[in-house]
Amino acid sequence: MNGVRVLVGTRKGAFVLTSDAKRERWDISGPHFTGWEIYHLKGSPVDPNRLYASQTSGWFGQIIQRSDDGGKTWHQPGTPPGEPTTTPEGMPKGESNKFVYDTSPETGKPLTTHQWYDGTPHPWEFKRVWHLEPSLSDPDTVYAGVEDAALFRSTDGGKTWQELSGLRGHGSGPHWQPGAGGMCLHTILLDPNNPKRIFIAISAAGAFRTDDGGKTWQPINRGLHSLYIPNPTAEVGHCVHRIAMNRSRPGVLFMQKHWDVMRSDDAGESWHEISGNLPTDFGFVIDVHAHEPDTIYVVPIKSDSEHFPLDGKLRVYRSRTGGNEWEALTKGLPQSDCYVNVLRDAMAVDSLDKCGVYFGTTGGQVYASADAGDSWAPIVRDLPAVVSVEVQTLS
């Protein structure tokens, strides 16, 4: 059966929505992990039934959940209940929720501090997983972007996690500062043509790229201009909210920065602004049409202190020209008294013939368009505040 599975993370649990390819009727399963914040869920492109979820709580910390049946059942991939938590030699066994920064002398001894909001040194402290990015080739390999900003990888299906410490240790780490939402690594893009190349983004450090599978990293922020930092064109310090690519053209990147929508045609080596005629270029989400690599979507938000749509009108903006020329998409979206936000991980596209576009709001609605944005309808409403939306196209 062709169909779509939408994975929704909210402030109080996870929801799984499924539909056939018409995308008209939706079955809703959930809430899963009730009461916990679900920052992100994502499925493996290799095995669509393999899902990973980040379950987190200010009280009880970080849990990683895994499903091997498309979200029907979940388990923590570490040591099963009732089994010893240590090996016969006394060594700890796999624990799915253990994220420990690398301080080994061989790989980093890194970096014990970053900058706090006031510019003073602050120790790196693990808080939560913001984003999970399954490998494009192996269902047991998955990357995790965490707060305080770092990149981890599991190669055993989420049982154990190791930091790719070259990112924090590449040189600029001591100058990174948190954004309003914390110092989070929120975007991970894997290059489908080059398994050694990964792009990541951190608020508020900027974008980075590795070309050797995560050993070494370089900042890729040339061309960004941020008036809110002491040096507007600094190598790091930019509050990048989201980066997106079309898989057919991974050297072209689109970015929603704190303010400004940006584009790079050289894998991040340089960026130029494409905000064009947007009514405001502040926002969080950005995504690219599955089949048209120059068709991109953003949801403009009024300002950095007013996190809601301009004039109370929820409008997705679409550019079919790779930026600069934008059209408002309003059909089916509330056009008065709407004051929700759309968070950075809360937009996704499917890859059906007519590309579907999906986004979730802090008001608990998930809107979907089965015609590439021309018209919209809520496929669920009144959920807890939506943090993330991912889509799997099933065949």
Binding site: F33, G61, P81, T85, E95
Partner: protein, 98 residues
């Protein structure tokens, strides 16, 4: 048997209802009770005390026999009523927020 009560979020995570019953070898202390709890329910590791430092998480409290033991040393003996199973060792999520 040692009786332990968990906050609702952790009961769900451990897939248990009501109190948890544990066998604890040797002296009954916060550490030995939590070690036994995590050995039986490994999914709780890291949720009550930090993975590395083994310190109590900031928003978790320990109570027993109407006393707040959150700040007692982890190797201090727990009250006899806990050791004999007369009273439960209570793990409580701090009330915070609104």
């Amino acid at each position: 048997m040692i009786r332990v009560t968990l906050p609702p979020h952790l009961r769900k995570l451990a897939q248990v209802e009501g109190e948890v019953m544990l066998n604890v070898e040797g002296p009954v202390t916060q550490r030995s009770v939590l070690d036994a709890l995590e050995a039986t329910y490994p999914m709780l590791r890291g949720t009550i005390r930090d993975h590395l430092t083994q310190k109590r998480r900031a928003f978790v409290r320990f109570f027993a026999c109407s006393e707040d033991l959150s700040h007692e040393p982890p190797d201090a003996p727990l009250p006899d009523a806990i050791a004999t199973g007369k009273e439960p060792f209570m793990i409580v999520g701090a009330i915070a927020g609104g």
